[in-house]
Every structure is written in structure tokens, then in C-alpha cells.
């Protein structure tokens, strides 16, 4: 009998130990919130019937909403609260809809000064809007790192002229700040933490991400181009003056998502993108790789899209600071992490796959200067070139690795992002 108790106790402690290590789930934030059908209905009606040029005010307080909010087809509209953390909308008990706040087909819209949390899908989605300012916002899920959290804290997609500033994003099961298929993007002074991906710019044209902090995500900042989407060939991005710190979080993304392939311990990834300039970033304490520049084939995901270019061309990485002190072994939960840990013998500041579009190579296998990956003035870095384009048939990916930076000593002019600075 005593023995049974002893064993049970051990099992309990073991269970507690594993639970507490496996994730940082917690009870969602529900205290202090009030639900009022009158409040909800009034806000719903304001959002639906607002006149062009008007302002919808969200009062200070913590409000539960059961129904999603939506704004459609407005011009020169502002929706604003008393400040992030002061006006809080919680969709914890949402009964319908895929978003907390959905904004569609608007021209000149400002969203500022409130918190959105715990929506069932995305907290804030904007579709087909032109001229958007999102500022002084907080968007989060309050149950910790949970794969059932919504996908995106901020999800502007197929928009034009987007400015996001002073926005905080956390605990998204995909990307905290996700900007998709959008033209002319500025994301600055934002703070993305504890998401799978902190900030993701996907299939966008002309983007600037600067003075942002990406911390404790699985991956800090991602510049992706992916197949099968209406806006093809994302390009022309500048990522500068950002802090990518300790992005070593567990990848709690869903297996179907692109970000599920991101190895914990990633600072920045450039995937299949043309024209990206990464400079003046501080990329500290990410345990697997600081910056990786990779072609889509390395994700292992199939695609069937003749318009899609899977390679990274015209990439410039300069004047960044790396610090890998005080970090442990690379993460091994994803293929890329295993490659780094085993094939490359540990953490790297910069990894490139070295595989520009084969169509661009000359008969000696050289990539013309305009399309090269250029790496300069990043200090004494740990570097690996996978030479992935030489990997054929059964040969192992690690067979072609070299550490020769001299081939990359060049620079590109004319990558001007959104040109806003």
C-alpha cells in the first residue's frame, strides 16, 4: 500500500515536471471582464453603420464580446480606444466568425489604442484595404503557447499602403504580425514575442521592417515567398535596425503551416524571396541560426505553381551584429535544426543555401553579380554555405558544405523597400 502511494507520487511529480516543461499553457485571462449585450450590439451597429470620415470610440474597460466585429467599405474611418491595455476586447467566448475584428474593402482606415485578445481565428484581419494605419495596439492570446490559439494576431492581406507601429503581438500559433500579399508595407517599432513567428512578411512587394523587437518566438523575422497565392514573387524588402533576441521558443504551429518548418532558435529567415536587404540588426542568443537564406525546396514542401520562383536572388546582408554567447545546443526538433546541429556541427550566424535560380547561372555555374547573395561587415561570423544546388540524387546535403565567405563579398544597391526612410 505504502509502495503504491510512493509510486503514484513519483508518477504525479513526473507528470507535473513534464507538463511544466512541455509548454507554458495557463488559464485564459477572464477576470475583470464584463459582457453586456447592449454594449456588444451598440459597437456592432457602430462598426456596420459608421459614416465615412467618422470615429468609432472604444471606451476604457474590459469587454467580452461573443460576436465578431466587422467594418466594410468605409472611407477615412478611425476606430480607437483609450490605449492598448486600457480598452480591451476579449473574444474568449466567441460563438461565430473567423476573426475578432474583420476590416474589408476600406480606404484610409486607422486602428489604434486598444487590445484584442483570444479570438477563435485571427484577432485582427484586414482584407483588400488601401491606406491603413495600425498603431498603439496589443493583440494576444492569454492561455500561453497553445497550438489552439488563433493564427495571426495581425493579419493584413491583399492590402496597399500599410503602416504598423507601436504594436505588440504575442502567443500566435502562426505569426504575430503577418503581412501577406500586400504592396508598400512599413512595420516599425513593434514588439512581437512568444509567437511561432514574430513578424512575417509573405508575398509582399516593397516592405520595410525596422526598429522592431522580436523576442522569444520560434523564429524572429521571416521574409517568405510561397507558392499557390494570387500575389506571386514577393520582393524588395528591407529588414534593418531590429533586435532579434532569444527566439528559442517551442514551435507550437500546426503541421500544415509554413511556420511549422521553422526550427526553434531562428533569428531571421529569407525564403524564396528576391531583393532583400538585411542590415544593422542585432541578432542575439538565437540557438540554431542567426540568419538563413534558403530556397523553397529546403522546406520539403511540394508545390505546383509554374509562376513561382523558389530561389532567393539579390540578397544583401551587411553590418549586422551577432552574439551566440550563452546559448545552448541548436534545437533538433525540426529538420533544419538537425542539419545545423549534426551536419554543420552547431550554431551558425549565417547560413545560405547558395542556390540561385539555375537559369541565371552561366556555363561555369556562376551567378551574375546582380543576383548574388552578398554578405559583408557582419564581424567575425560563423558561416556555412550549403551549396544546395550541387546536391543531387543520393548525395547528402552536408557533402557540399563550405565556409568560404569570400565568394559573397559584394553589395547591392537599389533595394529600397517601401522607400519610407
Amino acid at each position: 500500500m505504502k509502495r503504491n502511494v510512493f509510486i503514484t507520487t513519483i508518477i504525479c511529480f513526473t507528470a507535473i515536471f513534464f507538463c511544466s516543461c512541455g509548454s507554458d499553457k495557463k488559464s485564459p485571462d477572464a477576470s475583470g471582464f464584463t459582457y453586456s449585450e447592449d454594449f456588444q450590439n451598440k459597437l456592432l451597429e457602430q462598426c456596420i453603420t459608421a459614416e465615412d470620415g467618422s470615429t468609432i470610440e472604444i471606451p476604457e474597460g474590459k469587454f467580452l464580446l461573443k460576436k465578431p466585429l466587422s467594418i466594410d467599405g468605409k472611407k477615412h474611418l478611425t476606430i480607437k480606444g483609450a490605449g492598448a491595455g486600457k480598452s480591451v476586447l476579449s473574444f474568449l467566448h466567441q460563438t461565430e466568425g473567423g476573426e475578432g475584428l474583420l476590416v474589408t474593402n476600406c480606404n484610409d482606415i486607422t486602428i489604434q489604442g486598444f487590445t484584442i485578445q483570444d479570438a477563435k481565428g485571427n484577432n485582427l484581419k484586414l482584407l483588400n484595404c488601401d491606406t491603413i494605419a495600425i498603431r498603439d495596439m496589443n493583440s494576444t492570446w492569454t492561455s500561453g503557447s497553445d497550438s489552439t490559439n488563433g493564427d495571426y494576431a495581425y493579419y493584413p492581406v491583399q492590402c496597399k499602403h500599410l503602416l504598423m507601429e507601436q504594436c505588440e503581438a504575442s502567443y500566435s500559433s502562426d505569426a504575430g504580425i503577418y503581412v501577406g500579399q500586400t504592396i508598400n508595407v512599413t512595420v516599425r517599432n513593434c514588439y512581437a514575442h512568444n509567437n511561432v513567428a514574430g513578424i512575417e512578411i509573405e508575398n509582399c512587394i516593397n516592405s520595410d521592417v525596422y526598429k522592431c523587437k522580436a523576442e522569444n518566438n520560434t523564429g524572429g523575422i521571416l521574409v517568405f515567398d510561397t507558392p499557390g497565392l494570387p500575389l506571386h514573387n514577393g520582393r524588395n524588402a528591407r529588414i534593418y535596425d531590429n533586435d532579434c533576441i532569444s527566439n528559442n521558443g517551442t514551435n507550437f504551429g500546426k503541421v500544415s503551416s509554413m511556420v511549422s518548418t521553422v526550427p526553434p532558435g531562428t533569428g531571421i529567415i529569407v525564403l524564396a524571396t528576391d531583393s532583400a536587404d538585411l542590415y544593422n540588426n542585432r541578432i542575439f542568443y538565437n540557438k540554431t541560426v542567426g540568419i538563413s537564406v534558403i530556397c523553397f525546396q529546403l522546406t520539403g514542401k511540394p508545390y505546383n505553381d509554374s509562376l513561382f520562383g523558389p530561389y532567393c536572388n539579390t540578397i544583401s546582408i551587411h553590418d549586422n551584429k551577432f552574439d551566440s554567447k550563452a546559448i545552448s545546443m541548436p534545437d533538433m526538433s525540426k529538420d533544419m535544426g538537425k542539419l545545423v546541429a549534426l551536419g554543420l556541427k552547431g550554431y551558425k550566424d549565417i547560413i545560405v543555401d547558395g542556390s540561385a535560380d539555375p537559369k541565371l547561372r552561366d556555363n561555369k555555374g556562376q551567378v551574375p553579380d546582380d543576383y548574388k547573395i552578398c554578405i559583408r561587415n557582419n564581424g567575425d561570423i560563423k558561416f556555412a554555405n550549403l551549396n544546395f544546388w550541387e546536391v543531387k540524387g543520393e548525395s547528402d546535403i552536408t557533402d557540399h558544405v563550405d565556409h568560404d565567405l569570400s565568394k559573397f563579398d559584394c553589395e547591392h544597391a537599389g533595394i529600397n523597400g517601401n522607400g519610407s526612410n
Binding site: 450590439n41 456592432l44 451597429e45 462598426c47 456596420i48 453603420t49 460576436k67 466587422s70 467594418i71 466594410d72 467599405g73 466567441q94 460563438t95 461565430e96 466568425g97 473567423g98 476573426e99 474583420l102 474589408t104 474593402n105 479570438a119 477563435k120 481565428g121 485571427n122 482584407l127 483588400n128 497550438s147 489552439t148 490559439n149 488563433g150 493564427d151 495571426y152 493579419y155 492581406v157 491583399q158 500559433s173 502562426d174 503577418y178 501577406g180 500579399q181 510561397t226 499557390g228 497565392l229 494570387p230 500546426k254 503541421v255 500544415s256 503551416s257 509554413m258 514542401k301 511540394p302 508545390y303 505546383n304 505553381d305
Partner: protein
């Protein structure tokens, strides 16, 4: 003096005549002012129905119609009508919604029988949705019926209704039915960002309807009523969708494509709200990748479960599409709005379709 009294009598006669003719017909003519700033607050003000309004007996020139394969809305039955101003008609369009004239009203009543096995046991009308073609654009209006079923009130912000019924198998069903708000109407009714009807397409109306005076092809009836011009019957013999639950109308592929066209493609088409996903399920799409075959999802999040692709030929239980149809949780389910319940029979159809797809190459022939 005499003249005046004759005039008076004549006037009185006129008034009496008008009065009686109105009584005889039971109601006034349909009243639609397409230039309205504020729409009517009550459904009855339009006079679409004569007599006891809950009987939904159409007024003059209000023409009933239905669709071969309808959208699933928590098993609601729908009574559809169209009205157009005198002397106007919709223009024939082959593959898209008919080109309706300004002033058109599409009227859709959502109701639930108390017992799906015996419709004579009464019904409850929940809402009536109108699409009115104003001079510059379509407008979507929803009227929610009162408890006594004597009229319906304009609703902007949506509503939730608790409804109970007995289904066709004799099971009790409870539903927290959602009446959409005005913006949610447009979520589905969006075509390149502007509001548009979805249902009245030739291929989904090209069948017989049981009119009070007998069966007739809907399009023939619309043409005969002066509501459709430019329609050539001979050109459209095969322009016809399968009925999703009637195997005599098409094979599994034809019925599944009809089902996903009607239930998914209002958003999942290039012109719809789900354009960013690259998943296009409209009837005329023949591109395997954008039909979801071995396509990785975009922004499906937890709605994707533990699965990698929208559709894996031969593997319905590992495909995201039927999986999202079996969920009833907001944010994960598909469609995102318009249903609270799972359409068990629809899921079975899509699973059967995927199970039968050849695993090497996929067959999407119509």
C-alpha cells in the same frame, strides 16, 4: 349643383372600386422604392406576400423559384422569390449570376418545419433576406420574424435564435441559429469587393419547379413572365448542375463539384473573399492545384487539424477540406459563417468524392 353631385357620386364610386379591388386582391401591389435612404422597417411594407403573410403567398409578379443545389444553412428550408419592376428583365449570362435590372428584389425566407418528416405539422419562419438592386449597387437587408409570425422587423446587427425541430430520422435537434449581420451578408455576397447575388445562375435553376399551375422549367417560366431576356434554351440543355443528393442527376464528381461550388465558392473563387488563399472551388475551375489537390493551406491554422493538404486523393480522412466541414467551432470550421451545425450528409458526399479520386492523377471532369 347637379354637376357637383354627379361628380361626388363618381368619386365615391371610384373610391369604392379601388377599395373593393384592394380587398379582393387582399393587399396592395408590391412597393419598392429603390432610391430609399432608410429601408422599410417591416417586411409587410413591401407587400411581397398577399393574405396571411406567414403563408408566403406571392403577390402579383412575385415569382417563386428554387435552386438545384442550395447552400446548407443548418438544415433551414428556403422559400425564394424574385420581383422586378414592370417592363424590366434580367439578361442571360451563361456561367455567372444573371444580369439583373435596377429595382430587382431577391427574396429568401428561411424557415424550419417542426417535423421534417411531416411538413403539415407547421413551420417557423426565422428570417427573410432581401437583396435589392439599387441604382448604384445591391443592398442586403435582413428581416427577423416576430414570435406570432405576423411580420418581420429590419435587423442590422444580426441575431441568435434558439430553434428546435425533429429531423428526417425522428431525432430532436437544437440549434442556436445565427441571423447574419449586414456585413456578414457581404462576406459571402462579395464579388470583387462589391455586393452581388450568388444563387440565380442558369446552371443552378435549369430544372422543373412545381408552380401552382403545374410543373415547368424555371428558366422557361422566367422568360415567359418577362423576367429573362436573351436566353436560348437550346444552348443551355447541358448547362445544368447536379443535385448534390440525387444520384440520378450526376455522378459523385458532378454532385461534389456542385456542392462545393454552392457551399464554398462564394468565397473560394478568385473574385471572392477567400481569394488570398489561392483555393478556388468554383464550378468552372479545372486547375487541380487551386482546387486543393495536394495544396498546402494558407492561414488555415488549427482548422487544418494535423493534416498537410486540402485534398489528398483517395484519403478523405487526411484531407483538410472535409475535416473543416466536420468542425463546429468558430475560427476553425468551414464555412466560417452561415452554419452552426455540421452538414453530415454534405461531409459524407465530399469524403466519398475524395475517396474515389485516383491517387496518381486526379479527375475533375464535369
Amino acid at each position: 349643383m347637379k354637376k357637383i353631385s354627379v361628380l361626388l357620386i363618381a368619386c365615391a364610386c371610384c373610391f369604392l372600386l379601388i377599395f373593393f379591388s384592394r380587398c379582393m386582391s387582399g393587399s396592395s401591389a408590391v412597393t419598392v422604392d429603390t432610391n430609399y435612404k432608410e429601408p422599410f422597417k417591416k417586411l409587410s411594407q413591401y407587400h411581397f406576400f398577399k393574405g396571411d403573410i406567414k403563408q408566403l403567398t406571392p403577390n402579383d409578379r412575385v415569382l417563386p423559384y428554387d435552386l438545384i443545389t442550395p447552400l446548407f444553412s443548418d438544415y433551414a428550408l428556403k422559400a425564394r422569390f424574385v420581383w422586378m419592376p414592370e417592363g424590366t428583365a434580367a439578361k442571360y449570362v451563361k456561367d455567372e449570376v444573371l444580369d439583373f435590372p435596377v429595382g430587382t428584389v431577391l427574396i429568401k425566407n428561411f424557415y424550419f418545419p417542426a417535423d421534417f418528416r411531416d411538413l403539415s405539422k407547421g413551420k417557423k419562419i426565422i428570417e427573410t433576406r432581401l437583396l435589392i438592386h439599387k441604382p448604384d449597387k445591391w443592398d442586403a437587408l435582413t428581416y427577423v420574424w416576430n414570435a406570432d409570425q405576423t411580420d418581420a422587423d429590419l435587423n442590422i446587427i444580426g441575431d441568435t435564435k434558439s430553434i428546435d425541430w425533429i429531423d428526417k430520422n425522428g431525432n430532436k435537434v437544437h440549434d442556436e441559429y445565427s441571423v447574419p449581420n449586414k456585413n456578414q451578408c457581404k462576406t459571402c455576397h462579395a464579388y470583387n469587393g462589391t455586393l452581388s447575388p450568388i444563387g440565380p445562375k442558369v446552371r443552378n435553376m435549369n430544372h422543373d419547379y412545381s408552380y401552382t399551375d403545374g410543373n415547368a422549367n424555371e428558366l422557361d417560366r422566367w422568360a415567359a413572365a418577362g423576367y429573362l431576356t436573351g436566353y436560348n434554351k437550346a444552348d443551355n440543355i447541358d448547362n445544368k448542375m447536379a443535385k448534390w443528393d440525387d444520384s440520378t442527376t450526376g455522378d459523385i464528381n458532378a454532385r461534389a463539384r456542385a456542392y462545393i461550388d454552392v457551399n464554398c465558392a462564394h468565397c473560394h473563387r478568385k473574385e471572392g473573399m477567400a481569394n488570398p488563399t489561392g483555393l478556388y472551388l468554383n464550378f468552372t475551375n479545372q486547375n487541380e492545384a487551386s482546387l486543393g489537390i495536394l495544396k498546402t493551406p494558407e492561414a488555415a491554422g488549427s482548422g487544418a487539424g494535423n493534416f498537410l493538404y486540402d485534398v489528398i486523393p483517395g484519403k478523405p480522412d487526411e484531407s483538410i477540406m472535409p475535416y473543416r466541414m466536420t468542425i463546429d467551432e468558430p475560427g476553425k470550421m468551414m464555412p466560417q459563417i452561415g452554419r452552426k451545425l455540421v452538414h453530415t450528409e454534405g461531409v459524407a458526399l465530399i469524403k466519398q468524392w475524395i475517396a474515389g479520386m485516383e491517387q496518381s492523377s486526379t479527375n475533375n471532369k464535369k
